[in-house]
């Protein structure tokens, strides 16, 4: 009997654990993996990308986004070579070490620095929860250009952003008319372009290319799954529905009945107490 009961308890625990595990399974990646995307933001140059000495992206073209790769946490060495290279012994960028932590989302961007030399930057994508109804807009300056302002609907929302920095905004979800202008100005050097800032999604916009070569362009990436449920559903305003469903037991009737009951009990209680008192005397 005792054994049976224990077995049942263990069974229930196992079931709960199994259910919990099933629920906890992430949608996209093995638990604990880091997610790495790679953006090619160097104009006019098709490249190969080597990760830890192995060719991972072949003939990677400017303006393309690769990934996400699901990688075990650790430090990876990334080298970017000419597209016809036989191995990674003569990289044009790197090799650079990318330390990747568990459950984090990253984008490695090959791009030009402010002066126009090829370089690489590892960005960490913000995957924290986003309030219901909002989307996240991340803007990254990876172009050969001085500091810029980012305009939304003509107004500066980000000011003085320099290569290779980023700024992150949570906004009401919707389409933003975004443009990039030299810092302190409102005349766009890039855009305006409609950017869909979807709810619960981190929409990452890259300004890449070169201002001097007139090759500035926008690239976008989305990281999904950070949405929140609304804080509640308040779906009544007057109480009339509750009042309408009164039957015989209206509040007045119930209060009267309870008052009468309490009075009756008090009277009976007092009489009993008096009688007990008399008999004890």
């Amino acid at each position: 009997m005792r054994t049976h009961r224990l077995a049942t308890a263990l069974g229930a625990t196992a079931l709960a654990a199994a259910t919990g595990t099933a629920f906890a399974l992430p949608a996209a990646a093995a638990d604990g993996d880091a997610m790495l995307s790679v953006l090619h933001g160097v104009p006019d140059t098709t490249v190969d990308v080597y990760v830890d000495g192995e060719l991972t992206l072949d003939d990677f073209e400017p303006g393309d986004l690769a990934g996400p790769l699901e990688l075990a946490p650790g430090t990876y060495s990334v080298a970017i070579t000419a597209a016809d290279a036989e191995d990674d012994s003569e990289p044009v960028i790197g090799p650079v070490d990318l330390p990747l932590e568990a459950d984090m989302s990253y984008t490695a961007a090959a791009h030009l620095d402010a002066e126009g030399s090829p370089t690489a930057t590892l960005f960490t994508n913000d995957t924290s929860q986003i309030a219901a109804g909002e989307g996240r807009l991340t803007v990254r300056h990876v172009a050969a250009a001085p500091a810029v302002d980012v305009l939304a609907g003509g107004d500066p929302v980000i000011e003085g952003l320099e290569n290779p920095d980023e700024q992150v905004l949570d906004l009401p979800a919707g389409t933003v008319s975004a443009a990039v202008a030299a810092a302190g100005t409102t005349e766009p050097v890039l855009g305006p372009a409609d950017v869909d800032v979807a709810e619960g999604v981190n929409t990452i916009v890259y300004a890449w290319g070169s201002l001097d070569d007139d090759s500035l362009a926008l690239a976008t990436q989305t990281v999904e799954g950070m949405h929140s449920a609304p804080g509640g559903v308040d779906a009544g305003t007057t109480g009339e529905a509750a009042a309408a469903s009164h039957g015989f037991f209206s509040p007045a009737v119930i209060i009267a009945a309870m008052t009468a009951l309490v009075a009756l009990v008090t009277v009976v209680g007092v009489r009993t107490a008096v009688r007990v008192g008399r008999e004890n005397r």
């Binding site: 629920f23 072949d58 609304p230 529905a241 209206s250």
Partner: protein
Amino acid sequence: MSSTAAGRARRPVRRGAVLIAGPALALALAGTVAVAFEQEESVGGQVPLSEPAAVPSASVAQSPAPTPSSEPAAPAEPVTRVPVRDAAPPQAVDVAAPVRVQVADTVDVDVRPVGVDPDGTMELPGSGDVAGWYRFGAAPADEAGTTVLASHVDTSEGVGAFAALADVEPGDRVRVTDADGAVHDYTVRTVERFHKSGTPLETIFDRTGEPRLALVTCGGRWDADAGHYEDNLVVTAVP
């Protein structure tokens, strides 16, 4: 001698018991009346209060790039095939919004898209004769997630159409028509009432898993001081 003493001693105890039992009985009766009170002066009082179930934690997913990389032309071969796409800004995807919901023979209302109010709660149409569709969640034609429709149980115009959800039973039919004219039929699986502090919002607004339909309104007692109902009434239906 001893029996007499015991008998005398027992008497006050018995009377004392009556003294205690009287109020206890009154309290019990009052409790019964209070239960009747809640059932009669509330919306969906006959629906038992439910405890929210465990909630799966939301996981972060990156949108997969749709196009595979081009065939290798360089001397070396890539070890793994990584999806690559053009990173030009994508366009927003349009989904067919639900425009009408019919529940059994009791509810037949128009539906319009809604979002989130400034206080973070779900936005609702002002009229109780219109239901709101949570446009950030699933749509009826989506392959995953819950389509959430909610409407006021009462407004200054009177009792709302969703007040009738209190009388819906498992097995009842629900029909949703979307903007493309497509008809989506569902069967009611559960009718649940949750105290608002325990309403399982993450489950109701789940954007993953099997396609489902949730019809949400208010229920339970009206808290006149706070100006809202104490509970949510949630009807869940499956295709």
